[in-house]
Symmetry: C2
Subunit: 394 residues, 2 copies
């Protein structure tokens, strides 16, 4: 374990990498998920055998370089779930980063250490990534702001892939303005800047969450009634979320195996509980199953994009519950994961941006409230977070 | 109660006050303790009768204006303890702002709403004030960074006074770099920039805290051993803290009565439990008692300043415990307050700067670790927070 605390990897930086003296993030500090290349450092993907079999990086990922050029100092590399393939934050090799806002509970993953470090005040913000919920879920469980951007709007060059159909870069912060400032540095292109004029509330997504977690989100919507359009309740997946969740899983499995299968077969790495089983499943997804899943994805994508036109935002719970306890059984974690995916697959399948806000607490533990926007609506979501912030978290 | 949640006063801003488009705090949001004047708004000091008997402000306090000029948007005015005269955060008129990091417990005060809003993610940072611990204590109890600056280094023009011998402006943030950026805007003068080369650990202050709270702070010191000078344990008040605490209380009481006594006698405002008793005590402090207390203060000040020479920092617990529960008795609160003052009077009596860092949690609730520096050592403390951040909070 790193002396710096379990949010950081044992192969952490020897010293902080100073950012530029001037720039919009000058004087701020950040931490980087151990999937982004940093020149001279090794990238571990949460797995010690991957780390041991790969050389030091020769260049720094452009998104990390952007943060440095904007003035942020990189203080460390953070622990993540193995091959980014979970939403729990449990890591059998490096230990599970603590959840500073709910000690004794999981931090969420796979960007677990980035969320843990930010929530602990170890840094001002942190870079993660989100394929199936890997920013949104730890942000919700650790009481942070987190953005899954529109697919393609954060440069993932120099970052390890997970499932490229869904992979996005994302980040965490404690405050809404800082969240937005990081976006201004990281987001590619100008976005699609349309004024928010319609609020849909995903009734079927709220029904997936524990009543208390759903109620915390609904309370924010009620408190903020003066600054939001009138809510319209909709069902976003009239046939239920099972087919969506399963098609996400199949495509994700197919893609991760295409990327890491050969290395895994050759190196037979030790894999933690649950990760081994999901990798084994990934190896079994056939091309036909993946093709069938892509047809379902196309339907889901059309459905969600049809609802979330430019100017419309869609509210839903980020996670189904507060963080599970660290001691929870694998069966309970599998159940948690399945419930999570029913919520997170909506933005994942449609490639749309989703922001999570710290809605409040249930039994003393954080829960998030999310909004999905149109393609390129990232800036609108970041502005929305600033507007809604005074109504959150209390 | 304000619809925006109990961190904000009912007479809150009708709309945010936008900051300058450019500047070191551009894009960030802040909240302001309801003791700083904002042009066109009324200042309430936590007491509805004060509010009702005073006109709208005609100008904005220079420290608030500095934040606006640096780019920060002011999103609201925050609840505080009546006449800033407590460290608990309980307010009988407006309700007690919640502690987002320890729901069901007090947020600490008197800058209670500023801490609550920052910890909730309602804003990026918040302005408070610290006379007897009013930034340090809520920062510790809400898991935030907080600075009590060197006496006189934050402009208090346009801010209501409490006890001018001890009054300082201070602020809260979740992250260390942001904490420092706000300091660069607010602090007057250049400070006394000396490299930290000696670390004293106030053994008698650590002995004042609950063992678990003390241990959380000691753990940070141990983890951060590579970036700190070797610790030297010292006793800072060989005769014990009772005389120091009592002289602080007498001077504070004398000064608050000089400022507010006439208005209180004329208006006979409703005062919450505990506040009434302390105001009544303040009225009884004689000039002789105050003079005697100032002699003890001079001794304490010489003692502490003799220890904390430029380059030397002094570590101590910020608060004696985690936050008391909201339902705690007045007697228990009085005991908590007395224990707090034994810790906070050290910087108060000596006029030296003190920073508190989020050290970690005890029973799931935050506790802080503090460092006192030399006069003008504010910047050194803010830099120290950035250096120590990765070792904190976990």
């Amino acid at each position: 374990m790193s002396a710096r605390g379990s949010a950081f990897v044992p192969h952490d930086l020897a010293a902080p990498i100073p950012g530029a003296a001037q720039g919009p993030l000058a004087g701020l500090t950040c931490a980087i998920k151990d999937m982004y290349a940093i020149a001279g450092e090794r990238t571990g993907a949460g797995n010690p055998e991957w780390l041991a079999t790969h050389p030091r990086e020769t260049s720094t990922a452009p998104s990390v370089q952007k943060l440095l050029d904007a003035g942020a100092t990189v203080i460390g590399k953070t622990v993540c779930d193995e091959f980014f393939f979970s939403v729990t934050g449990a890591n059998a090799h490096y230990g599970t980063p603590i959840n500073p806002r709910a000690p004794g509970r999981l931090p969420g993953g796979s960007s677990s250490g980035s969320a843990s470090a930010t929530a602990a005040g170890a840094c001002d913000f942190a870079l993660g990534s989100d394929t199936g919920g890997s920013v949104r879920i730890p942000a919700s469980l650790c009481g942070l702001y987190g953005l899954r951007p529109t697919l393609g709007r954060v440069d993932l060059a120099g970052a390890m892939a997970m499932a490229p159909s869904f992979d996005t870069g994302g980040w965490f912060a404690c405050g809404p303005g800082l969240m937005r400032k990081v976006g201004a540095v990281l987001l590619l292109g100008a976005g699609e800047r349309v004024r928010i004029n319609r609020l849909l509330v995903a009734a079927d997504s709220f029904a997936q969450a524990d009543p208390e977690a759903a109620a915390a989100g609904e309370r924010v919507l009620r408190r903020a009634v003066q600054v939001l359009p009138a809510p319209e309740r909709v069902a976003i997946s009239p046939e239920g979320f099972d087919a969506w969740r399963q098609c996400f899983r199949a495509i994700q499995g197919r893609e991760i195996w295409e990327i890491y299968g050969a290395w895994i077969q050759e190196n037979r790495p030790g894999l933690g509980p649950g990760v081994r089983e999901r990798i084994d499943y990934a190896a079994t997804v056939t091309a036909e199953e993946a093709a069938s899943a892509r047809r379902i994805q196309a339907e889901a994508r059309a459905r969600v994009r049809g609802l979330v036109e430019p100017g419309t935002i869609l509210a839903l719970p980020t996670a189904p519950s507060i963080a599970p306890t660290i001691a929870v059984s694998q069966a309970a974690l599998d159940h948690f994961r399945a419930r999570v995916m029913a919520l997170t697959c909506v933005a994942g399948l449609s490639g749309l941006p989703q922001i999570t806000l710290p809605a409040g607490t249930v039994d003393g533990c954080p829960v998030g409230l999310s909004f999905i926007a149109w393609e390129g609506g990232d800036e609108a979501l970041l502005d929305l977070a600033v507007t809604l912030a005074p109504y959150c978290g209390q």
